[in-house]
Amino acid sequence: MTNLRRTTHAPRRRRRAARLVARWAPAAVLLGLLVLAWQLVALHNAYLIPRIGAIWSQIVDHPREFLDAAGVTLEESGVGLGASFVIAFSLAIAMSHIPVVERAVMPLAVILNVTPVVSLAPGLAVAFSFTMTPRYLVTGIIVFFPLLVNSLVGLRSIDPGALQYFQTLHASRLEVLLHLRIPSSLPFLFAAARICFPLSVIGAVVSEFSTAGTASGLGSLIEVGFQENYLPQIYAAIFCLSLLGLAFTLLVTLVERRVLSWHPAGSARR
């Protein structure tokens, strides 16, 4: 029996391995070539970019420093994003029910969106001195507009027939919101998450540039590396930031696949 199972499962396993190779081999080869090119350039131009070994040993020799810094950056982007989502989604609910709220909020949100948020950071740092507040604020503001617009479009993208069906049963506004509007908005919220997670990391790093002296995040490590003219630290921090963004994207994909299995967006990425 065991032998039989082994013989029937073996080809399937081989096929799965072949599919994985076909899927990831091109990216792996390209990455390998880029690493090689990087190393070649670095060997002859140490002032331009550091060697990969130097970047790696920077992280391996100071793991605590990079982990703590990643924790700080993660906290900034997480708190900013979370708070911004709660405010943007609540506002979008109000806007989808009360037109005057939309007329009041939307123009201001657009102005906030076209203002380069990076330029707000120094002002906020002065206002709140060297606390974490300006960092949360910059991160929150940078993701606010895409969260607001996607939430609003999502809450409005309901099937008109389904709304009529709810109305024939005299469903309350709260029931329409909970059973129809919020589930309909999920695909839009996941699309927003894909944009906003990396954006929140950018917000966190930018705010750290302007608020040196507060808890040290990955952006602060870059800032220090710049002041000391020490390239391996700068690129090690950038590498950690990329990993952070990648982890965020992976998390969104996994949750989306689970929550949106009924929607083409969720099932297409299987």
């Binding site: 009529q164 709810f166 109305q167 049963l169 005299h170 059973h179 129809l180 299995s261 009924w262």
Partner: protein
């Protein structure tokens, strides 16, 4: 019981306003559907059948006239969950399973459920009666068109509405599936005694299902003729090949033809 008025439409008219001016869509229409009867509206495209259904459902207000559903106005009937609705586009919720979709009317407007004369039916039981016992945990996207239609019908019967409004529910199905579903609908309806107002564009479908076929004129739609269908119930698979069926079918077709010749809408 049967001769008591279930649904009364008195002098109902509706005009929509477009950029080019007012567009009369309906009536005035007078119509009475006795309790427990199955009545089908049939007429030329755009004659206002669906508008009448929307007005009866309380989704649109008539410009003139009044509607009574078991003695209540549509707004109050909606509040009591007396209205069941099967829209043309089904409107199933794609994130809910088949069973969760059928359970929806019991979850919405719960306060109406307490004072209702009839208790709600078990959604799983209704779904099983329509042959969906094996797919209770599937989502609508995983089902065929006919199965999705069955879910929408089951959902409409679950809360035992006093009046069931159906807007061309079988129009998107192939002929064979439509035929099976019509007989399934008849069986389910006979077990409940619900009053049904059905919109159709198929003469044979109207005759098979109904106690009365209401033929409507071109827009603004009015009642041109009410043709009683006296075929015995329950109506089996062979009723459609009987002479009596053909006679009623012919009568409806003739009424429709005279409506079509009487007033073609101007392009």
């Amino acid at each position: 019981m049967e001769d008591q008025p279930g649904l009364v439409v008195s002098g109902v008219a509706k005009t929509y306003v477009s950029e080019d001016g007012p567009v009369p869509a309906l009536g005035p229409v007078d119509l009475q559907v006795s309790r427990g009867r199955f009545v089908t509206l049939i007429g030329p495209s755009g004659c206002g059948k669906s508008t009448l259904l929307r007005v009866v459902a309380g989704l649109d207000r008539p410009d003139t006239g009044a509607i009574s559903i078991f003695g209540e106005d549509p707004e109050y009937a909606r509040r009591l969950k007396h209205i069941g609705f099967v829209p043309q586009a089904l409107a199933l919720l794609p994130w809910r399973t088949v069973l969760e979709n059928a359970r929806l009317p019991l979850e919405l407007n719960r306060s109406a459920g307490t004072g209702r004369p009839k208790p709600a039916r078990d959604p799983a039981e209704v779904l099983r009666a329509l042959g969906l016992g094996e797919v209770l945990d599937r989502r609508p996207a995983e089902l065929s068109g006919g199965m999705r239609q069955r879910v929408a019908i089951a959902r409409a019967f679950v809360h035992e509405p006093a009046v069931l409004l159906m807007d061309e529910p079988f129009s998107s199905l192939d002929e064979l599936t439509g035929e099976v579903l019509r007989h399934e609908l008849l069986q389910l309806w006979q077990s409940t005694g619900t009053t049904v107002l059905f919109v159709s564009h198929s003469v044979s479908e109207a005759v098979l299902l109904s106690d009365e076929v209401v033929v409507m004129t071109h827009a603004p739609g009015r009642v041109a003729a009410v043709i009683p269908v006296t075929l015995e119930r329950p109506r089996g698979d062979l009723v459609e090949v009987s002479d009596a069926f053909r006679d009623v079918e012919r009568e409806v077709r003739l009424a429709l033809r005279s409506v079509m010749h009487a007033g073609q809408p101007r392009p």
